[in-house]
Symmetry: C2
Subunit: 389 residues, 2 copies
C-alpha cells in the first residue's frame, strides 16, 4: 500500500502509478555506498561558468520578481533566433512558451490534450515519465515497439499509425530516443506529419536530445518539416544541451492556435521558470555553441569506449546509438534486468538502469549513461565484464 488506510482517498489512478524502477536500483545502490552511478541521464560536467555567472548577474540586477507566463521576452527571442537557422525556416518568438523543465512541458501538454477515454501512442522502450503524465490525466498509453537490427534501432511507422484510433489525442515521439539512441529520420517525420494532419492528431515531439547527435549538427526535427500551423508541439530543454539539469528550464514550440491554452496551463502549474534562470538561459542559447560541440565530442569518446569493449562480448548485442548519451544493450541469458542491475550494484558497485524500467521491449536490456570520463567508463566496464563472465 502506498498510503495509510486511515487517510482519505488518494486517486486510484495515481496510487497505481509504478514507482520508477530506475530509482529502485539507485536507492538500493545508495544504501550500499561506493557505487559508480551510470543509471541516470545527466551530463557529468557542471553548467559552464559563463552561464552561472549570467545567473549571478541577473540576481544582482534584481530579476527576482514574477515574469510573463510565456517566459522572459528576451529568452523567447533568443530561442527564436537559435531555432530559425537550425530549422532553416523562421520560428517566431510568439510560438515559444518557456516552461519549468522539459518534464513540466510534457506535463502541461498532456493536461491540455488528454482525458479519460483518450489515448496517446508512443514508441517503446521509452523514458517512463512520459507515459506517466498521460496516466495522471486518465489516458491510456499505447506503446509500439522499436526493433534492434544490424542497422540500429528501427521503427515500423505503419505499426505506429495502426495503433491510433478515433480516441488518439497525440502521437508522442522522443527522438533522439532515451533509452535506445534511435533517431527518427526526416522521411518518417514527414510521413507521420501527413498522417497527423489527415487524422487530426497532435504530434508531441520530445526533442531534448536534439543536439546530442553523432552525425551532423542536430537530429532531424519536426520543426524542419512542419508549417507554423501544423499540429506539432515540440518540447525541448536546457538540461542536456547546456548541462543545466538542476535549473529546471525547458520550452515548447507550438502553433499559435494553442499558445493561449499553454499559457494558462503554465500559469496554473508553475507560473514560469525562475526569472533569473531565464536571463541566464539567454546567454546559454546565444553563446553556448562551443560548449555543445565540446560536450558532444566528449560523449562520442564515451560512446566509442563502451561500444568497442562491450560489443566484443559474446553475451552482448548492441548497436551504436545515433543520438542521446546512452547505450541500451541486450544481454544474452538475462531475463530479469532488475535482478541483474541489483547484482551489478551489490557485487561490482556499478549502477546501470534495468531495461524493464522502459516498458515493452525493454526487458533483457540494460541502459548505461556514457556521459562520464574515459577512466570512469573503463573502470565500470571492467566490473561489468567481470559479472558477465
Amino acid at each position: 500500500m502506498q498510503h495509510s488506510d486511515s487517510l482519505p482517498v488518494i486517486r486510484p489512478d495515481i496510487v497505481r502509478l509504478a514507482d520508477s524502477r530506475i530509482r529502485e536500483v539507485a536507492h538500493f545502490g545508495m544504501k550500499l555506498g561506493g557505487v559508480t552511478p551510470l543509471w541516470f541521464g545527466e551530463p557529468d560536467l557542471p553548467t559552464p561558468d559563463f552561464i552561472c555567472e549570467a545567473a549571478a548577474e541577473a540576481l544582482k540586477a534584481g530579476h527576482v520578481f514574477y515574469t510573463e507566463s510565456a517566459g522572459v521576452p528576451g529568452l523567447r527571442q533568443a530561442l527564436a533566433d537559435y531555432l530559425t537557422p537550425l530549422n532553416g525556416r523562421p520560428i517566431h518568438a510568439d510560438r515559444i512558451v518557456v516552461t519549468a523543465s522539459g518534464m513540466n512541458a510534457i506535463q502541461i501538454v498532456m493536461q491540455s490534450l488528454v482525458d479519460y477515454g483518450t489515448n496517446v501512442v508512443t514508441t517503446s522502450p521509452l523514458w517512463p515519465n512520459c507515459g506517466e503524465t498521460v496516466r495522471i490525466m486518465g489516458g491510456e498509453v499505447r506503446p509500439v515497439e522499436l526493433t534492434m537490427g544490424n542497422d540500429g534501432w528501427q521503427l515500423d511507422i505503419e505499426k505506429l499509425m495502426a495503433a491510433c484510433d478515433g480516441n488518439t489525442r497525440a502521437l508522442f515521439v522522443n527522438s533522439p530516443n532515451n533509452p535506445t539512441g534511435w533517431v527518427m529520420p526526416s522521411e518518417q517525420q514527414k510521413q507521420l506529419l501527413d498522417f497527423a494532419r489527415e487524422k487530426g492528431i497532435w504530434i508531441v515531439a520530445d526533442e531534448v536530445y536534439d543536439r546530442m547527435v553523432y552525425e551532423g549538427n542536430r537530429a532531424p526535427s519536426f520543426l524542419e518539416v512542419a508549417g507554423d500551423e501544423d499540429p506539432v508541439l515540440v518540447i525541448n530543454s536546457f538540461s542536456k544541451s547546456w548541462s543545466m539539469t538542476g535549473w529546471r528550464m525547458g520550452w515548447i514550440t507550438a502553433p499559435l492556435g494553442i499558445i493561449p491554452t499553454l499559457l494558462k496551463m503554465n500559469e496554473f502549474n508553475t507560473a514560469s521558470a525562475a526569472t533569473f534562470a531565464q536571463h541566464a538561459g539567454i546567454v546559454a542559447v546565444r553563446q553556448g555553441e562551443g560548449f555543445i560541440a565540446q560536450s558532444v565530442a566528449r560523449y562520442r569518446e564515451g560512446r566509442d569506449i563502451v561500444y568497442d569493449r562491450l560489443s566484443q562480448h559474446p553475451r552482448i548485442r548492441m548497436v551504436q546509438p545515433k543520438g542521446a548519451f546512452y547505450h541500451f544493450f541486450a544481454v544474452d541469458g538475462m531475463d530479469d534486468s532488475m535482478a541483474f542491475a541489483k547484482r551489478l550494484v551489490a557485487e561490482q558497485r556499478v549502477g546501470l538502469a534495468p531495461g524493464s524500467a522502459f516498458g515493452p521491449g525493454g526487458e533483457g536490456h540494460l541502459r548505461l549513461c556514457f556521459a562520464s570520463s574515459p577512466a570512469t567508463l573503463h573502470s565500470c566496464l571492467d566490473r561489468i565484464e567481470a559479472l558477465l563472465g
Copy 2:
C-alpha cells in the same frame, strides 16, 4: 475561440477555463503605459541580498545537477527546524516535500486527489488559480462565501461543512486569505479538522501568507492543531515571506502516508525546484526572520495608509485585513468591477484587480495590493479618489 479550428482537439475542460481577469486588466493597462500596478500580489522589495548571494555561492559550488524529488535534504531539515518552534510541536523533515512554487504544490495536490465526479469545497472570494487546478483535473469547485461584517470577514463554518458530500475529496482553505485578508481562527481550524477526520476528507491549507499578519508572529496554522497522521496538506511558499516570487519555490507539509504519492507527482511535474535555489532557500529560512519583520512593518504602514484614507470615503466599505497584503473593498454603486478597473487604468493610470476575478462574493469589490511605498500609495489614492468622486 481559443484555438484555430484547423487544429486537433484541445481538452474542452481546458478550453473552457476562464482567462485570468486580473491579467485582462493588466494587459489592458500595459498597452496604455505609465500605469502604477497594484493589481498583482507581489512584494515590491526585491529578494534580500544575503539570499541572492547564497544562490550565487551555490552556483559556484556546482549545485547545478538533479536533486532528490523530495528536495535537497538540507532544505527539508531547515524547514523542519523552522516549522517546529512556529507550531509548538515537532515537524519532521520527512513530512516535507519541496516543490517548484506554491502554485505547483497546489497543482500536485489536486492531481493526487481530484477526479471527474469529485469536488473540492472552498471559501470565496478566492485567488482564482486554486479552483482552476481542480477544474484541470475534471473536478467541481464548490465556493462558500465569506461575509464582511463590522468585525471583518467571517466564515460560517457550518455552511462550509454543509457544502461537502460523499464526493468531496478536499476542503481548500486559504488563510490568511487572498484577496480578503481573512484569517481562519484556530477554533475553526479545530472544528474543521474534526469534521475532516470524521468524514474522511482532506484539508488542503494554503498558508503562503502565514507570516504576513498584523497581530502576533504568524497566523494560526493547521499544523498547530493537526497530528502527524491527520489528513492535512499544508502548502507554503518562499514567495511572500522572503520576497522570492521569481524563484518558484514552495513546499508541502503532509502526513507520511501520502509522501510517496507527492514524490511521484513532483517527479512527473517538475522533478524539483532549481537545485541552487533550494540551497539559497536554506539561508532564507535560517536567517530570514529579520527580513520578515521588516517586511511586515512596511506592509502594516501601507495597510494603514490605504485604510485611513479610503475608509473615510462615503462610497467605500472596508475593514482592516488581518493578514496578507491586500485591501479588498466594496464600492457603492459599482456593479461591474472589471469596467471600473479599466476606467481607473484608462483615466487615472492606477492598476487594481477587479473583484469579479475572485469568484462568488467578489463582484462589487476591488483588490489593492499595498506592498508598495507610502509615496506610491498616496499618489494612487489621490487618483482613486478622483475617480470615485
